[in-house]
């Protein structure tokens, strides 16, 4: 039931995105590519810059931290809490919004003020990234560059997957999103972290829960992860990987005993942007060590 309604929503979001894209490209066909773009969604920002339209980007949301020059653009705040007038003050021609950007009323108000909105399709697996790249290409009138980037992505993605498939080992990996009130938040099934761990040839040790949920200390010990994966931002904030590896529940696991903690930049690891094949390779190298080198990663 849950899954089905989720899929329906995803389909709706995609349909909305496609409709928006069609409407927009129609309007620009006689015009030219949009000159002032605001992007709400770090993955979309990466794609716009990768397509060479970075100079047109005038505003980005909080998650847009790559490439580094993206972070120098005007900051429109949190992607689900956009201020319509704030965005309007940048006088954009186009707002490229992640599927979960909001609130809906803000996007409606932006449209009422004459700003074109391109709503991206939802990406619930790495395999859907080329679709997102093509969507952005259409929205900013760089379809050819997008086709090339999508093709390169598909080739890189396939090559990384082939190499990972030749690795014999499959360590158990626990992704810790954050430590709140003592209980670590774990990336369970259906999360981006779960998808990335699997793609890098690991087994998600947090598969007992669905979504991001706090996991009890004993459950973590029982999950017996061989490695702990965190976002580097989070590790920095709490004072380094050692703090996590020293947690009593983690110290008792194989990962804690072998001191195997992996920190990766959040948008690289979980962004589902064009850098995802690199992220998979990096994670695989960290997980499989010499096996990964032997596989050519």
């Amino acid at each position: 039931m849950n899954r089905r309604s989720f899929n329906t929503l995803a389909a709706l979001a995609m349909a909305a995105g496609l409709v928006a894209a069609d409407g927009n490209t129609g309007a620009w066909a006689e015009d030219k590519a949009p000159g002032r773009i605001v992007v709400a969604g770090g993955d979309l920002t990466e794609i716009v810059f990768a397509l060479g339209a970075g100079d047109s980007v005038i505003g980005v949301d909080q998650t847009s931290n790559f490439p580094p020059e993206a972070a120098e653009r005007e900051q429109i705040g949190y992607v689900r809490r956009l201020s319509p007038e704030g965005v309007l003050s940048l006088t954009p021609d186009l707002v490229i919004a992640a599927h979960d950007a909001g609130p809906d009323i803000a996007l409606e108000q932006l449209e009422a003020a004459g700003v074109a909105i391109a709503r991206a399709p939802e990406t619930d697996a790495a395999a859907a990234i080329p679709e997102k790249i093509r969507f952005v290409g259409q929205a900013i009138d760089r379809a050819d560059a997008a086709e090339a980037l999508a093709a390169r992505f598909e080739a890189d993605f396939a090559s990384v997957k082939d190499k990972v498939a030749t690795i014999g080992s499959s360590p158990r990996v626990l992704f810790i999103l954050g430590i709140r009130n003592g209980a670590p938040m774990i990336g369970g099934t259906g999360t981006t972290a779960d998808n990335m761990i699997t793609l890098a040839g690991g087994v998600n040790a947090g598969a007992g829960v669905e979504g991001y949920k706090p996991m009890s200390r004993e459950a973590i010990i029982a999950a017996a992860p061989d490695a702990i994966l965190v976002m580097s931002q989070h590790a920095d904030r709490i004072g380094g990987l050692d703090v996590i590896l020293d947690l009593p529940e983690v110290a008792l696991t194989p990962a804690g005993q072998a001191r195997r903690g992996i920190a990766m930049e959040g948008m690289l690891l979980l962004g589902f942007g064009p850098r995802t094949p690199d992220a998979i390779a990096e994670l695989a190298r960290a997980l499989h060590a010499e096996n990964a080198v032997a596989a050519g990663l």
Partner: protein
Amino acid sequence: MEATLRLGRRLASPALLLLGLLVAALALAGLALGPVEIPPPRVIAALFGGGTPAESAIVWQIRLPRVLLGLATGAALALAGAALQGVLRNPLADPGLIGVTGGASLGAVATIVLGGFVAGALPAGLRPFLLPVAAFFGAALVISFVFALARRGGETSVATLILAGVAVNAIAGAAIGAMVYVSDDTQLRDLTFWTMGALGGAGWTLVFAAGALAVAALPVLLARARDLDLFQLGERAAFHAGLDVERSKLAIGLATAVAVGAVTAAAGPIGFIGLVAPHLARLALGPRHAILLPASALMGMALILAADLCVRLAVPPAEPPIGLATSLIGGPFFLWLLLRGRGGRGHA
């Protein structure tokens, strides 16, 4: 005390006029100022249908509903707070204390987390109203429950009312906690931001609905000024002075639930105003409710409009939650009044 009262009465009308002017000025500023710079003549042109499409969209679709919702929210929260502080004879009472806000939050959070199951059955046009309607009914349900609990043998015990409110708040908090636990991360982010409150999240229809309910409920509270004065003598004395104590309590309770439920449904729970605006009014103009009630309402409107201006001008193009600004503006102002008034009045 008597001198203060007389002074309060003499100063009342100019002070109310001043407050009214302040609110009007802030409302105009709310229309004229924002991250997008529109010169005042252009704002006026846009208001009367003359501006460019972008200007009229900003003024009509973004700023005007926001200002109106701010006025309704400020007045409803402050007036409800003043009336509850009067009825309960408790200076710490605010709409949150007897569970109205908790009930509204529970309704809203339940919609965010579980609404997906219901929304599919609703026609698309009605879906945006699911959350405010649920929040409103949450508030109404909680307040009727609390009043029913506190009513024994035809009498409503104020002490039971407050204690039942505390208990209901705890239950609502637990239920919200359970919802938070089963929510996915998108829902979690939504409800975190909903609980911070915002004036910018409501469109015209919602503003109309909330505004109409607030406008219907507020005169009921304003008309109870004499009742509230009598309540200060204690319920028994009020009864002997000829007041229908039960009827009065019920009317005030219901009007509070309607007003606070409606604006909370549209703007989210905005704390602090309901508690502090009445105290500000009391410190400045004395305790007589005929003046205190309208002064609280004006104070509430001024506070919330000022807070909204702050959040939209602070770090454009982003916008911090309004709850931060209401406390940041109201807190120090309140402390200043408190310290200033300490010499004259022992207990405000």
